[in-house]
């Protein structure tokens, strides 16, 4: 093996190889396993000097990885969030705030009538789970009101969420039975 190509390996490792040389060298690496082994050993020298050698050294590791790579190339892009959703052809209309939608979703679920027995009949209530009214606070009754939801949704974005991280605000939104109301979105 010529010194000149071995030297190029060394320069490649130091990130000092110019682009023209890079292309050529990479092509040769793909044809020459011995060149690859040498590169791997040069890297090992560097790792040893930095004390980055794992306890188990396996110079053939990279071949094992390459062998396990899928046949097709890397994906162009991951499926975006909600890719299954059919997006409208036109752009998205701007809404004043997320509350526009939430108005409907949060509309007064806290009915005056007591919840049906099934709703809370479970071992969970044995934990001492109670309604907010039972808190030792001198308040007649606490109930949802129309017009509350817009503040709740907005405020939710700022709440610190020790549990569930960012999802708890959405748990509160998703956890509401939707009620179609006369107060259609955006009509205020």
């Amino acid at each position: 093996m010529k010194d000149s190509i071995k030297e190029q390996l060394s320069v490649l490792l130091d990130d000092e190889l110019d682009e023209a040389e890079q292309a050529l060298l990479l092509r040769q690496l793909s044809r020459n396993p011995e060149l690859c082994s040498r590169l791997s050993r040069y890297q090992l020298i560097s790792d040893a000097m930095h004390d980055n050698l794992p306890r188990c050294v396996d110079p053939a590791f990279h071949t094992r990885v390459t062998a396990a790579l899928p046949a097709q190339g890397p994906a162009r892009a991951a499926a975006p969030v909600a890719s299954r959703l059919l997006r409208p052809a036109a752009g998205l209309a701007l809404a004043a705030s997320v509350a526009v939608v939430a108005v409907v979703s949060l509309q007064n679920v806290r009915e005056q009538s007591p919840a049906s027995p099934q709703a809370v009949a479970s071992a969970h209530t044995a934990d001492g789970y109670i309604r907010a009214q039972d808190t030792p606070v001198p308040v007649a009754s606490v109930h949802t009101a129309p017009g509350l939801d817009i503040y709740l949704v907005n405020h939710n974005e700022y709440a610190v969420n020790p549990g569930m991280q960012g999802m708890l605000p959405y748990v509160r939104i998703v956890g509401k039975e939707t009620q179609l109301s006369g107060d259609a979105a955006g009509s205020e």
């Binding site: 309604r131 949802t144 569930m164």
Partner: protein
Amino acid sequence: MRCLLIVLLAASTQVVAGDSARQWLDDMSGALQNLNYDGTFVYLHDDHMEAMRIIHRVDEVGQRERLLSLSGSAREVLRDDRTVTCILPDNKSVMVGQSRPSQPFPQLPKDLDSISRYYLLEDVGDDRMTGFPARVIAITPRDRYRYGYRFWVDKDSAMLLKSDLTTVDGKPIEQVMFTRLSIGADISEDDLQPSMSGDGYEWSRQMDGGKQARSPDSSPGWVVRRLPDGFNLTHYQHRPMRKGRGDAQHMVFSDGLATVSVYIEDADKIRDPLSGLSGMGAMNAYGTVIEGYQVTVVGEVPPATVEMVAGSVSRGAQDD
């Protein structure tokens, strides 16, 4: 491997209870953000029980989550590091917003230190939950102006199993409890996609908030004179609440754990102003009119706190 375990166990018994609580909370926060999990949980509040499923995956592009309702209609929320998409089949709408970086649980030592001025952090001990051995961590407020928390944390993965939001006396107001949970397994792309196509739905996009000056010097012209100890202004915005409703001044105060929002709007522009106390689950609100302005205070704090704060809002400069 055995030796390793013994050494670790020995080390852990020396840890002080408060430090231990902090460590568990820190680990829990890390688990919620870094692990793959797929579980069904119940969300209890105000006499209602909702069942939901959450799927969370971390991969090379970051975090992705899907939250879907299992009771009633199939509402879903999908989230990644950039976008939040809320799908509401009942009114055939899809709302897309910017993914707010999830306010992480205070993790920095200094944050947890300042919180311990107002809350007692305790490692309460062992329990079992959802079939996992769990550690119970309590955050108990030191006064009646705040709510507390109780977490059941899986001892192996530090994953959250159950959380209670409680009154100062420890009674739960809101509960999230996993009834089934799988941790660490691979999550398929299919599981992260919504179950509906949204065909024919109306789409809308959330407007960005107005300027977000954090400094109190942006003089909203109003001052909040009574706040529980430790609550400081963390955000201030001047932004429209809703189309056709005019601007609201919005101040956010926090003690590091609880947050309270104060909204001030022109009372004439509001069709259904809040008056007095109302709330939902752990969130309480108080509405009143002061000098022609609708003042609304909202937060995960007891009703007495929002009432106190609302009553203390007046014109002036926040310099006292």
